[in-house]
Amino acid sequence: MTVLIDSDTRVVVQGITGREGSFHTRAMLNYGTKILAGVTPGKGGTVVEGVPVYDNVMEAVRKHQELNTSIIFVPSRFAADAVYEAIDAGLDLIVVITEGIPVHETMRFVRYARLSGVTIIGPNCPGVISPEVSKVGIMPGHVFSKGRVGIVSRSGTLTYEIAYAMTKAGIGQSTSIGIGGDPVPGTSFIDALEMFREDEETVAVILIGEIGGDMEERAARYIIEQDYEKPVVAYIAGRTAPPGKRMGHAGAIISMGVGDATSKIKALKEAGVEVAELPSQIPELLKKVLKKAGR
């Protein structure tokens, strides 16, 4: 088993005719992802990488009733509209790759998705990969390997770095979820921890956080309150970040006294989570906690 995506995942790519959309459509197809359709308003009837393109999502869903997932590469000014379209077309999972969506718009579509029972990953995220099963995202597939550890992360390349270190150490991943670097993500650390909790295949979880907000502290509280059974190993980026400065991601900012790395690391440690000082220490810590848990 995996979480979010599996062998039944059927994908429509919104913004498929753009530079990034077409490039990653090819990469996902090469990885084995089942992409049935693409959407770009005004480009219906064309074909990209062998995938038929439609003018809107409803039409794509009518033609390909197995569609259940969308990945969005639409530019930031039009991305919110693309999300509403995907929600209204009845898809179950929407992965929003687009960076730079105004947070007021994100607040509204995340709320709308919740009311509609739809899962949103992102925005501003690398997507989701279940190694050797499916990839709905932009991550380089080869650094990941199939296994039993779940990853949930606010960052892209840092996840690749950690997955690469794990793969080299012979530790594979069940699913890696990039929840994105925006202040208001569609899926939080707690949501992801819940998904991994239900997943029999996943035996441990790696949580890759960073400065800004209090999602890590909330995850720590959740781990304590729920008596979370699976061992969690964490890494928090930004311990040398100055307050009030946005560190690349829209959400990576210590503001109004909230969001520094020290508070997050402390909260996680108090919840019994092993926190790595360097990304390279994660495989070792994982082996330690898995041994302790008798797995």
Partner: protein, 377 residues
């Protein structure tokens, strides 16, 4: 982007939030004229973005136009906490019975706007949250529906007001939400909101922070991309990179925000001192890499440049070519440590080795090397 007080006051005025009469000026003569026009006592306020200008001498009470002239002369052109004062406002002084607090913020963890109200304004809200949390009311607003009248009533009631101020407060809260909504604010704050002896309410200070991602909707602000930025931050922004100044000597350049933060943290954990955060994002070509590397090579405090690239959509050969060109053009004699991994790694390595540069494969060993060259703290 944080707005200057006078910009926020202008917005408030347009949205029906009462603000004391004021003029924005940039000369002492202008300040005198403004004071004459407003008549009576006025407050001279330096227009800077740094917090805490009051304690740093950026707010003065003037009894007459000559005093206004004098304070304006002192302030204009001076620096407040390192920020130059180019403009000041001359504002009618308000008699204050009590100071209140109102703001609308985004609560990231619930993904919704939140109204914050307190009958005890004039102090830092974070400070108040620590000392008297019971004096702050939080009301969550549905981002799709927007503020409801009952919510504004509830918040106004919490300010411990009687009529007619109570009714006015309710209107101010609704108008503040309209500002927050219309301008895609991260924060819209009135602190303090003054209750006058006559039962009036006036916004004595105005703080508005706009979401950078929504700036394109407001041409009056979006033309000004480099506000509040240092030279290096502004240069990086022109290339669409994010850059943040730190105080060490090891320049950090990576692809991706998380990896860049992790790289600077690693340098620190291993005993070194990072000089900056420079994230070139995904897919940067050689010409942009060249400009980014040149920026770090120029920086006077940077002694070592540490480049850590994990190539996905970023190609290692493009990065290598950019580095080589930056070195050729700037002729800089600084030490460079490069770690390349991922797409076209072999080609990148060959390019750098031909130019007598070392390439390391693992992030930790590269960070150790950078610390060794830059010296331990």
């Amino acid at each position: 982007m944080k707005l200057y007080e006078y910009e926020a006051r202008n917005i408030f005025t347009r949205f029906g939030i009462p603000v004391p009469r004021f003029k924005t000026v940039s000369t002492p003569e202008g300040a005198r004229e403004a004071a004459e026009e407003i008549a009576g006592r006025v407050v001279i306020k330096a227009q800077v973005l740094v917090a805490g200008r009051g304690k740093a001498g950026g707010v003065k009470l003037a009894d007459n136009p000559d005093e206004a002239y004098g304070y304006a002369k002192q302030m204009l052109g001076s620096e407040i906490k390192g920020e130059k004062v180019n403009k000041i406002i001359v504002s009618r002084a308000v008699d204050i019975d009590r100071e209140l607090y109102l703001s609308i913020i985004i609560d990231r963890s619930i993904g919704a706007p939140v109204i914050l109200a307190s009958p005890e304004g004039g102090v830092d809200i974070e400070e108040l949250a620590r000392t008297k949390p019971e004096k702050i009311l939080r009301i969550v607003v549905d981002p799709i529906i927007g503020i409801r009248d009952y919510q504004a009533r509830q918040a106004a009631r919490f300010l411990e007001l009687s009529e007619p101020a109570l009714k006015k407060a309710q209107e101010i809260i609704i108008n503040l939400y309209r500002v927050f909504d219309y301008y895609n604010c991260e924060l819209a704050e009135i602190n303090p909101l003054a209750l006058t002896p006559e039962g009036g309410l006036e916004a004595i200070d105005a703080k508005v922070i706009l979401d950078d991602n929504a700036l394109y909707k407001y041409p009056e602000f979006s033309s000004e991309l480099v506000r509040d930025l240092t030279y290096y931050e502004a240069e990086a922004k022109k290339m669409n990179f994010s850059y943040v100044e730190l105080d060490g000597n090891i320049g950090i350049l990576c692809n991706g925000a998380g990896l860049t933060m992790a790289t600077m943290d690693s340098v620190y954990v291993l005993g070194g001192r990072p000089a900056n955060f420079l994230d070139i994002g995904g897919g940067a070509r050689a010409d942009l890499v060249e400009r980014a590397v040149s920026l770090l090579l120029q920086h006077p405090k940077t002694e070592v440049v540490f480049i850590n690239i994990l190539g996905g959509i970023t190609r290692c050969d493009e990065v290598a070519n950019g580095i080589v060109r930056a070195l050729e053009k700037t002729g800089a004699m600084k030490k460079i440590v490069v770690r390349l991994k991922g797409t076209n790694e072999e080609e990148g390595r060959r390019i750098l080795e031909e130019n007598r540069m070392y390439v390391l494969e693992e992030m930790d060993e590269a960070a150790r090397k950078a610390v060794e060259l830059g010296g331990r703290r």
